[in-house]
Symmetry: C2
Subunit: 147 residues, 2 copies
């Protein structure tokens, strides 16, 4: 069972931004370098996180990305649901649809299991994710700010 | 969130074999054609299912694959755990390991969510999966036996 790389990258970015001081911000370049992913991957995740209202960009000299209040309080279950597509865990439809798809007990069982996965993340907030010992590691991860 | 194609194929094969009459068997070719997957994919899944003791091959003229007693009673949660690799839902280790991997609250949360996914499938057996209306569809899927 796998989550997408996109979700992984987005969650790392959110966690890094969640440990910044209140008046601090970081660029996409800094965040991506800090958490060990490519700039291109992080830029795509940042665009989605901005559209979700989880992060926002501050302007001007020294400007960059910050976590919003909504982002800080966001449920991890909600966030992962939004970052993953609406797809099912196996491909029932599509160009080569499964002949069972109309009346499949497996399909409904897998939908239930997928919901159990997300539900287990619902009580957790982004702030919870960056409690110790994770916070200390995140604070120590320094990404270079581009010139 | 996705399961592997391998797991999908294996589960379809198990379900098809679960609705055969007690003295009937089917070849890999027949099963793969019936459930709409390639012979090559089904052959790989069959090898794994045999090693798990879920299906067995009968010899001689008219021989083929049958579900074992263990296969019929197997928990879907157990089976999906066995078919999926032991991997985590995101890649923390590997050639480009995540810098958070040693002290990551997200990692432990995702492990818990993964376990919740499997646990929701634990009470279900293979026999449960082929109850109506799924049984009727499965019985009607006919794969050609190779000459």
């Amino acid at each position: 069972m796998r989550l997408t790389k996109f979700t992984d990258v987005a969650l790392r970015g959110v966690m890094k931004l969640a440990v910044l001081d209140p008046d601090d911000s970081q660029t996409t370049q800094e965040v991506s370098a800090a958490v060990g992913v490519s700039y291109q991957h992080m830029a795509k995740a940042v665009a989605r996180l901005r559209s979700l209202g989880v992060i926002e960009a501050t302007r001007g000299r020294g400007g960059g990305l910050v976590l919003t209040g909504l982002g800080r309080k966001a449920s991890v279950g909600w966030l992962v649901r939004k970052l993953e597509s609406e797809d099912e865990v196996v491909t029932c439809e599509g160009s080569s649809p499964c002949p069972l798809r109309g009346a499949c007990r497996l399909r409904s069982a897998l939908r239930g299991a997928q919901e159990a996965f997300y539900a287990s993340l619902d009580p957790l907030t982004v702030s919870d994710l960056v409690g110790e010992p994770t916070r200390q590691v995140l604070v120590g991860l320094i990404g270079r700010r581009e010139a």
